[in-house]
């Protein structure tokens, strides 16, 4: 029988190894970004000779990093906020209001979850191209306006809010709109925070939808831009690709570092 202490050691050892395994690729990515092309060819597995920024400068020369960054952030922000704005009343309706078709609406929402973006893109693409909206920011934002996941999350959080609170507000003369957009947000703050973070990061990182919805670089997002660093022709310049990759990963990692608590909590709470 494995004793308690042995178990502890085993667990910690495993955790340590796991930590290394998960961290190593990032470290490697960072190290590669400092190398010169010669180092890459001659000694790809050695440490870089010096901490050079040449690869990064090249990335900035090749891509309008600032513009992509800005655009991606604006897009993700717009999506996350739009989702919250729409999910709040929806969750409220499904959680707190009584109306006849509530069950049906709920089931409808559930089934909508099953249709991921990848399935929707063909018809959405043709719809948008008929409207002349392909390759514009609305094409990147609008299709995600409704988030079934968000609606569920908020609904669950709402169920915990005592109805008496809402009754009291109504008695005080508050309109439904006021309740939804003024009263509830502070109460639901942690759930909202978790949802915002999850959605923002997810859409910031999105590759597929911008790939199919944009055709040139006027509304190109950062993931797309960095992916294009893999130019064919004269040898893939890994140090530049990795430098671009570092730049791409940093915002998500930074946001994660800042919002870790909320993210883990919000996600973890979703299980029975």
């Amino acid at each position: 029988m494995i004793g308690e202490r042995r178990w502890q050691h085993l667990a910690l050892g495993f955790a340590f190894v796991a930590g290394l395994v998960w961290l190593f690729p990032y470290v490697w990515m960072l190290l590669t970004s400092f190398k010169t092309p010669q180092e890459l060819v001659k000694a790809p597995t050695a440490l870089p000779g010096a901490l050079r920024a040449t690869a990064y400068l090249e990335v900035f020369r090749a891509l309008p990093v600032g513009r992509y960054l800005l655009l991606t952030t604006v897009m993700a922000l717009a999506i996350a906020l739009l989702q919250i704005a729409i999910a709040l009343p929806a969750a409220y309706a499904l959680g707190k209001l009584e109306f006849r078709l509530r069950g049906a609406a709920f089931a409808f929402l559930l089934s909508a979850l099953l249709i991921p973006a990848e399935l929707r893109f063909v018809p959405t693409f043709t719809l948008f191209s008929a409207l002349g909206l392909v390759n514009t920011l609305p094409a990147l934002v609008l299709p995600f306006a409704v988030s079934a996941f968000g609606t569920f999350l908020l609904r669950q959080a709402l169920l915990q809010v005592p109805s008496s609170l809402l009754e009291a507000a109504r008695l005080d003369g508050a309109s439904e709109l006021y309740i939804v957009y003024r009263l509830l947000p502070p109460i639901l703050a942690p759930a909202l925070a978790a949802f915002f973070l999850i959605s923002f990061v997810h859409h910031w990182n999105d590759y597929f939808w911008p790939l199919v919805m944009t055709v040139d670089d006027s509304v190109r997002t950062l993931p797309l831009g960095v992916a294009l660093l893999r130019e064919q022709g004269s040898g893939v310049r890994w140090h530049i690709v990795m430098a671009g990759n570092v730049l791409l990963s940093l915002p998500a990692l930074a946001l994660f570092a800042l919002g870790q608590k909320h993210l883990l909590r919000g996600l973890g709470r979703n299980v029975g």
Partner: protein, 474 residues
Amino acid sequence: MAEAGGVADAVAGGETFAASSASSRERHAGAAAQTRPKPRVRQRFCSLANDTESGPAIALAMQRRALLRSAAALCGTALGCSAREAPAGRVSVPFWFTYGGRNRATLETLVARFNQAQTDVWVRAIFQGDYYEGLAKLRTALAAGAAPPLSHVVGEVVPYLAAAGVLEPLDEYPGARSLPLHPALGQAGSFIGGAERPLVIVPFNRSTPIAYVNQQHYDGPAPASWSELQGVARALTRAGRFGFGCPIDWWYWAALVGQAGGEIVEPDGNVSLGGAAGVAALELWQRMVGAGTMKQPPGRDYNAWEQLSQDFLAGRVSMIWSSTAFVRYLEETADFPVRALPLPHGQRGAVPTGGTHFVVLKSAARELKQAAWRFVRYLTGADAAAFWSRETGYLPVTTDAARALEAVGFYAQHPNYRVALDQLEVARPWPWSKGLFRVQRELVQPRLEAALLEQLDAARVLSDARQLAREAAL
């Protein structure tokens, strides 16, 4: 999916995430306002970048790039303004291109030169990935009504695009009929019956397949026949080194089919895939790979070509087939002397032409199309065409350019660049068949890959493809 459990803390309201709990609706309104004036966004930020005051956009950008000292200077470049916005008063022509690496840099140089040489047009070159990615984007853009006025496409897809009616006929454009193009490279020479059709393409980066050999490994004559090829490959193979390498790609297969006396598409339109010649071509590869004398590079499409170049440069393959487009790159990067050789003859000498042609898209505004044409004329001028050819290795598309290069002794100093030019004598035109591109991408290319990797029966594989072509009425 999200069945949440107890949320007691939410009500207790420990932490508040200030940003989102503050009226999310105001934020939303703000963001929505930002999304609406989309076309003006770029101009707005550009003028911010030119300010020396820190606008919010610059502050944001600077925060994120704390590493770099010269953030302010880089902001201008990073926001992509200075290089990309057209100065006022010029017609801005977006040009979608798909060259990477060194060739991309050369193109960008030419674009800059053009932009500086005159004051009416500003060409904005936009990188779109590799040929196939770029083509996919072009086609979807056409479907969505968002296509640029100018781009370039591989020869095989031209008949399809022409049949779909998306290409601007160029016959009436100034100078179109009198461009001194090399006979094998213009529309007339590149396609069977090309001269009878309305002019829709102008060649720019054109190539033929050639062989490169590591002169330290082999300094003999070019293998003149298939059996000589196999012999040389065998002689050069040793432990850790392959004698020969070739991407398993439609283009090289087409070359072999031609050399074996076949046609991919018969004059009557029947997609025969070379018949017995097609099978012989595929079997040649299978034999050589099976004998261990040929390396089949892994990877898809241009990844394979890339990989093969790297193998060649590292000395792992002595002789490779690749495009003349890599002459400059290989010569400069190798630490051994590189020699270019023509491909062998089979029953006859035959090479396909490759590379791409300029196309002007009909859907663009007239002003843009005419401006785009000016750029095309510039690039086919003797200077630019010669520059392009010598910097990359692509063929000089006009006879003027070729003569200019000859005159300055370029070919005397760089005999490798001549190989493809001389080989044009045996260049074979493509059939003008609107299904050609589908045949290439959907039917043949995947099957070539499969036949080699899984050692399938070549005759079977090709007859399957033929069958499918028939069914699809290609």
